[in-house]
Symmetry: C2
Subunit: 212 residues, 2 copies
Amino acid sequence: MARKTGSHSDITGPRVRAAALKLFAAHGFAAVSMRQIAAEVGVQAGALYLYTPDKQSLLFDLLRDHMQEVLDAWEAEEKPEGPVKQLETFSRFHIRFHLERPEQVFISYMELRNLEPDNFKALENMRRQYENSLEGILKQGQDEGVFDVDDTKLTTLALIAMLNGVTSWYKPDGRLSLARVEAIYSDMAGKAVRMPRWKARQRKAEAQQAAE
Amino acid sequence: MARKTGSHSDITGPRVRAAALKLFAAHGFAAVSMRQIAAEVGVQAGALYLYTPDKQSLLFDLLRDHMQEVLDAWEAEEKPEGPVKQLETFSRFHIRFHLERPEQVFISYMELRNLEPDNFKALENMRRQYENSLEGILKQGQDEGVFDVDDTKLTTLALIAMLNGVTSWYKPDGRLSLARVEAIYSDMAGKAVRMPRWKARQRKAEAQQAAE
DNA sequence: GGTTGATTTGAACGCCCGTTTAGTTAGCAT
DNA sequence: ATGCTAACTAAACGGGCGTTCAAATCAACC
């Protein structure tokens, strides 16, 4: 009893990562043992070490790959003109992308503290990169006078936290469709930062007065 | 070597809970051992069982006590008149209360899945009760026409997620003061749900037209 | 069809886990 | 001072942990 019939690293490798993802998301990194992961794959614990140097790398690879996917996908997303529409695009993209990968999103938020310091820093940089793409939109909107934002960094974090919240309750067969949720959240995000018309008029008036 | 000098259950009991809170928040429930908690208290592992029936209860008691504190504190908070001001009061209360208890908040969000089913349900009910107090404000505002909310339940969750986000980055000695953060967040929350003036005028016009 | 290398087993390593228990000491009332 | 009880230690229980490794089996190429 050693090598299994039909076994191949191209098959087992992805299955190991899938099992780890599933179990980490369900029970948490610290609560899941290598033996449980192996059982999910249908293999003995020792065999896992052909596909990962250790348990920590298994977690880190999952988190890093997910963040890279997010960054690449946003890069590839078609951006409309102007910060208002870009904010809507970002909100909708974020909701959609995250709802399609509930397990990755979950562990990306819950298991960061189980990363060793270097791995943690690497992921923090990727996350900041993603946040910067939203903050860029807010800054541009502020410069153009279409957004009324007190502090772009803080607002960025607040918006992302709000959008992330969706993953904690959304169920694909629930009361609300994905399209509806996208619409409601992007609408809320827009309203939270947009310059109110009365305030825009007031500023315009002030500017004219200052010019006289 | 048995009983320590100056030892008393009134002292050790709270110290056990404090150590558990600190360590659970820092490393996660599953990653912390009873021996680590005991070491933090300055006692042997066996002694912990004078203060908790088991590790699970230690976690549950922390979470339940925290949620009860939240509910009691909001109950005791002085409520102004009208949903707009009440939303601001709620936002500011939530931010302030949660920033004063970062560890409790952290474990309340991270460790729910480590609760046994019955304990989980108990806490879920308390959390829903808290959410309902916010949803009540949103509903009232919608009835009075001062809020423009698509779905009160969803909006409730979105706002709470946004407000909770503050706990993941706020540092007491950071760039922004607590008062400033309170102000920014409550302002954003208000703008996200408030009826825009132009829309209110439009509705009023529609109502008049329908009356003729 | 035999050889080689990829894939996996099964057992073992030392260590730590949550919890129980018998025994020991400190605080306190009498 | 004595006795009693609350508080704690030290050791042990069975079990699971992450990881390693020699041996065994299968896939693939000659």
